[in-house]
Symmetry: D3
Subunit: 247 residues, 6 copies
Amino acid sequence: MRLLLLNPNTSRDVTELMRATGSAVAAPGTEILTATAPRGVPYIATRAEAQIGGAIALEMLAEAPPVDAAIIAAFGDPGLFGARELFDYPVVGLAEAAMLSACLLGRRFGLVTFARALVPWYEETVAAHGLGQRCAGVRALEGRFSALSGVQEEKEAQLIDLAHAAVEEDGADVLIFAGAPLSGLGPRVRDRVPVPVVDQVVAAVKLAEALAAQRPRKATAGTFRRPDPKPSTGLAPALAARIGGAG
Amino acid sequence: MRLLLLNPNTSRDVTELMRATGSAVAAPGTEILTATAPRGVPYIATRAEAQIGGAIALEMLAEAPPVDAAIIAAFGDPGLFGARELFDYPVVGLAEAAMLSACLLGRRFGLVTFARALVPWYEETVAAHGLGQRCAGVRALEGRFSALSGVQEEKEAQLIDLAHAAVEEDGADVLIFAGAPLSGLGPRVRDRVPVPVVDQVVAAVKLAEALAAQRPRKATAGTFRRPDPKPSTGLAPALAARIGGAG
Amino acid sequence: MRLLLLNPNTSRDVTELMRATGSAVAAPGTEILTATAPRGVPYIATRAEAQIGGAIALEMLAEAPPVDAAIIAAFGDPGLFGARELFDYPVVGLAEAAMLSACLLGRRFGLVTFARALVPWYEETVAAHGLGQRCAGVRALEGRFSALSGVQEEKEAQLIDLAHAAVEEDGADVLIFAGAPLSGLGPRVRDRVPVPVVDQVVAAVKLAEALAAQRPRKATAGTFRRPDPKPSTGLAPALAARIGGAG
Amino acid sequence: MRLLLLNPNTSRDVTELMRATGSAVAAPGTEILTATAPRGVPYIATRAEAQIGGAIALEMLAEAPPVDAAIIAAFGDPGLFGARELFDYPVVGLAEAAMLSACLLGRRFGLVTFARALVPWYEETVAAHGLGQRCAGVRALEGRFSALSGVQEEKEAQLIDLAHAAVEEDGADVLIFAGAPLSGLGPRVRDRVPVPVVDQVVAAVKLAEALAAQRPRKATAGTFRRPDPKPSTGLAPALAARIGGAG
Amino acid sequence: MRLLLLNPNTSRDVTELMRATGSAVAAPGTEILTATAPRGVPYIATRAEAQIGGAIALEMLAEAPPVDAAIIAAFGDPGLFGARELFDYPVVGLAEAAMLSACLLGRRFGLVTFARALVPWYEETVAAHGLGQRCAGVRALEGRFSALSGVQEEKEAQLIDLAHAAVEEDGADVLIFAGAPLSGLGPRVRDRVPVPVVDQVVAAVKLAEALAAQRPRKATAGTFRRPDPKPSTGLAPALAARIGGAG
Amino acid sequence: MRLLLLNPNTSRDVTELMRATGSAVAAPGTEILTATAPRGVPYIATRAEAQIGGAIALEMLAEAPPVDAAIIAAFGDPGLFGARELFDYPVVGLAEAAMLSACLLGRRFGLVTFARALVPWYEETVAAHGLGQRCAGVRALEGRFSALSGVQEEKEAQLIDLAHAAVEEDGADVLIFAGAPLSGLGPRVRDRVPVPVVDQVVAAVKLAEALAAQRPRKATAGTFRRPDPKPSTGLAPALAARIGGAG
């Protein structure tokens, strides 16, 4: 089984962090391909960047080799619903995978992330998935950190403090460290958080495997059927071809 | 990995149907154990029966051998939240697994079942999981059928008609044939339904595998931590022991 | 008029406390019968215990003498919806009665209870009755107390402090001391709480009287009509008979 | 116990119909006083009329003799929340009483009324009480009728047809004939509707009795405490006095 | 274009404050007429007063000269929905105008007002407009102030502190100083609040101009069509005439 | 005052239609600039196209001359929330403007559009604005039409039929013809629809004028403050500069 782990950000080290986290739990026959955005921002953190990064994710999917399932590997799932419409294989979002997995382990999940700027986008992501009743809240680090790829080590103590606050003050039954740079933190600190911790990349890989094993058919009706072919101007050639009805 | 597929109904043939459906998709190393309710009703269909059957499910879990995860294998998930609280390994409900998997494939899922009597219970199950925004509706066969274990063959054409109605009139993007006796129907008729069909047992086995692979810790805080030991009177011995704090 | 006050817990002193509280306000012609669970736990406090206790409540109702209405006398209403389906006379829950009465006296009610362990169950009870918009929150004592039957005296000051917090911080217009062991506390301390206090047992007795006076017919349609007769195995004989279509 | 049944409409025959319906179920010691609006419209049916009629209801309460509880006897409850704020005894609305009573008998209630013009006001009433989840819908007669006071006899067959539709198509578990001129219809036709029928006046009298028996204290905090005294100009003298802080 | 700015309170200085605020932003051809309630209270602050003041607003509209649009110039919009039903030109509420304008500038708006007594009414106003998801909360001054007409100067510092709290603690993206006596405060202190401030009167005048420019037709169907003519007793003559079908 | 009417589609004739519709109602001093997407699809109709078109809209805004306010002139508002974050002047969406204007004229608005493919996107737009309670539903033409720019004439009769259905069957109080190619239809057919019709372009121009007249400050706090400067790779130069912090 081939899974595409698609990072819509331009940070290659974050892609590598996610690849390593996912590979550690992938089933024996699973091959994880990765792609890092060739253009865009190092780390999507706002609505505008998600708008742009989601469009880039669609280009990247159109240009990707054939796979059994794809993961849009940014918490916030930029471009997810468009991708699910346009492509034939299952596409899973990092936030979606983490949140739905968390639903299996408790009533409400708490999100802990590394920058306040991410909070509104993450709140809107919860709402976009219709999971407001299952979310206990979003907490974020205040202040600066040295480098994206090292934030989970640099701020480990504070992130665990936020996890405790999510449990004790917000009523979280399950904890998600949200944001691609926090991938792999969950498995590492699981014994220091008093509720189950769901790792976003682990969840995405396991759910993508579970879905791909079922080989769900592409809808030919409903709101996720493939749109009718349409002409376009000036889009990336592979994406234009896909929108135009190609293979 | 050992999964317990626990049927809280007394119908052994339905247990066997679910075992066969699940085994067909289980990963190589997965062993599926089954248990059928030693007391109760042949098929839970009402709130009262779910109340009773859920209590029996807790007894059965207390009496079960050690496993890596358990599936409460009745759509409606009787006893699920109590089980998640009382036991240390992941417990997944049939309805929950199907609905959360369906969320990965579209915006709204439709439920199609085989008896009108089940509709209110299923609607309340959707609400209990906080997934009302993701459900397009519940449709049910009218009229009688010969035998529970044969209902999916006997009524196949009508069930597919209901699936079409769920897509075309209710706006379902994904279809779930709901109710244990319909296990295995989805994979069999998938080409005759214009949207992806999620099979409840397939979904439950794959999600239980995915969760068990992550070995989530048992909560020691939050609303699903194990309750403090408590004395009891007249309960099944293994359940009394578990409630009393035993291993 | 005969009312059955059914305690699904095994604590006889709590039954007696509730009987005394209810008798003080019952109308002249009202006779209050009581029943205490012959098996189960002393005090239902978790989802698992509610699952079990609700099934026991159904057994107790099946074994009860003829009455005009019954009260499931545990806040959280274990087994209520199943009982309403299976039996012909009105069945009222303690939580339901208190909450609906409180709705007549203000916009939002606050719940104050004696143990943190009860909070999730009570929150789910509010949601199960569709009254989320009318609830200002649930507050609970921290820490231990000597005995269930004496908790309302031992912790009176703290419970009143929580009531004040519910009014001042949560915006409660009405206050409910929730949990059977707090029965009778409301009438006793009403002058020390700045909003109307609804006593759960008083509310349940008065609403059961009000309903029974109207002798509502048993539904023969809708989701609370009596289910079709069904065979069963190993259930308490009276319950099996009722499920099987008797009387 | 003295209950004031206050009709904010000018139709004396409807007042008399409600008095008769209520008296038939009142407890032995209950005395029902009535008041009919001295000004206003014969039958409130729109938002504008409810605005005006609610203000008149406040005047009527300010002018009324001392009572133990009052009923605002128009479905739609004009002026209810203001009255609950301004006066010291319990005030119950006709719609509120019927809907909360219906909640004790099923999951969702259906409303059936005699004129399409009433539907938006009734829908807004359901929402104002936060009971949207408990309402299956509002159905209304089409066309004209001869006289308000005779509409329940003239249109009996059609009203029962609408009740059947509410049960079968909307999923109502309980039925309410809504609108003061339909008072007493429920008890009369209860055997021709397949679910329990709640009569609005019966419900209001029994709930007012139940509340008055508890003598709830007037809030001195929260959103229903009595407002601070305030000067006014040109209002009815008794109302001006009450707003000004008089007894 | 003629706009009627209708103050349903008896405070002429507040009318003048609003006239001045609105005139400063009115388009060249806009003429702002004012009306101050001839009876009622100096400042509507409770549900009862809103009930009464809304009825007075309807009288005032019935007595007003012909205009192109009217503004019900009290935050809380007393009588708005009735007015929209009964009259042919657009009628805009002060709260409604401010909240809908704020929606154009951010996700959630915060309300800051000058008296705690107003909070429940304002919360119910948000809900009545179905804008709960867009409101970050309502904050109010504690304590007394010297005079209504001077409250915005006297308490300026505290009001700005509350605005900061609404942004920082409640997550408001936009700020509304709510309550007629705060009219004009927004434009004056806009540089001291870190998010856009919407002035209620400015918003109402600009939206009334925008609507009147479109000359929307009066509905002849739907819930805001003009009600059928109806007789009445004892109402203000112009209002009785309007309800009776006049002009 | 300069308004930018930005069409994120590549159809110049639709831009011209909207310019003409808007110019007819613009205030004397208002100058309407237009921009048509230099790349993308002729008409955005799906989630994927909205993802792409929204990113293009951000590029277009970054490249635009200075204006007082901008309109994202596609119903569905692609890129709106990102634009509101990234730019300093007010940005209004076509759907948002129409829906918020409709809220001023009734309780619920109905949407009528010209292609079934648009329905899911429009439903998600309603939800994204938190206006679900105010929307009566979305109706769409079935079948094909000759040309986008002529669809409103070709299908006029059917569109009016859908408007009638929205009023009579869905309960719409206000009607919106949704989708840029329907601009100008509302004013033309207003006498043939029994409720007020809001034209999306008219509403957007008038609201943009109303907002620009208030010159709201750019947020420096809250979720719509301008994001911190960020490096990027491969984006359109003007957009990269804006994201990078340029003026």
